[in-house]
Amino acid sequence: MNLQSEIPLEYMIVLSTAVFFIGLVGVVIRRNLITMLMGIELMLNAVNINFVAFNHYLFPHRLEGHFFALIVMAIAAAEAAVAIALIINIYRKFSTVSVDDVDELKY
């Protein structure tokens, strides 16, 4: 399937930019640790679209973007596992996961 004549590369990148900033808004407006983590996952996925689209459109004879996206996914999985371990530990200590109430180290 020849995608390049059908869909310009700009469409993909504008889509990923939009998803990135939606994820950023999610991190800014929510005070719950789990929803903030979900915003970060959205941002990581937006970056992955960029890598894959550049690989497919600009360098189809190589696989660099493909492997970079694969490695970003592995790091996202490791990050999610550690973050959720931390969130569960915080919940055990403070009985809440709101970042406004977890401020023991703040001052």
Partner: protein, 169 residues
């Protein structure tokens, strides 16, 4: 409109709508399910670009792994029918200004730059090619990042078990 274009616009609309719903949903479990829809649509996008292996990894790792992990942590840390607080006005304003400015800046920069689509013959994305590159040590081999990632995953595994276990009394 041709077939791929229609599919692309459906996937893009699904990604945008569900990610906005996932951000603004007051029910945290629903937000996680909307995030799942976003990730599945992104797998469709990868499939359109002929990266079948990456689409499968996206489905297995994100939809099957991370979203399930997030749902488990939601069930462990919050009441099932509790709703999130509405976002503060100042945060909403800050987020809106940042994202609109960033989106305008990014989109104008992207649309001004003329990308030269490559005409070279695409490399096959079958499993044989991917495997040979992923474990190759030659010019286009990725054996070193692969090994670094395995060590990172092991460290994350040990670290999260150590963090999450109950402290000894």
């Amino acid at each position: 409109m041709s077939g791929p274009k229609i599919i692309f616009f459906i996937l893009a609309a699904a990604i945008l709508v569900f990610s906005v719903m996932s951000i603004f949903s007051r029910r945290i479990l629903r937000a996680a399910i909307y995030l799942l829809f976003v990730l599945v649509s992104m797998a469709g996008l990868y499939y359109m670009m002929n990266f079948q292996f990456l689409a499968a990894v996206q489905l297995i790792l994100y939809a099957g792994g991370i979203v399930v992990l997030i749902i488990f942590s939601i069930l462990l840390t919050s009441q099932i029918n509790s709703t999130l607080d509405p976002p503060r006005k100042s945060h909403l304003l800050l987020g809106a200004v940042t994202s609109v400015l960033g989106l305008i800046l990014g989109a104008t920069t992207i649309l001004k730059y003329s990308f030269q689509a490559s005409a070279s013959a695409p490399i096959g994305t079958d499993m044989r090619t991917i495997g040979r590159h992923l474990l190759g040590t030659g010019a286009e081999g990725y054996a070193l990042p692969f090994e670094v990632i395995t060590v990172l995953l092991l460290a994350a595994l040990v670290g999260s078990i150590l963090i999450a276990r109950k402290p000894k009394v």
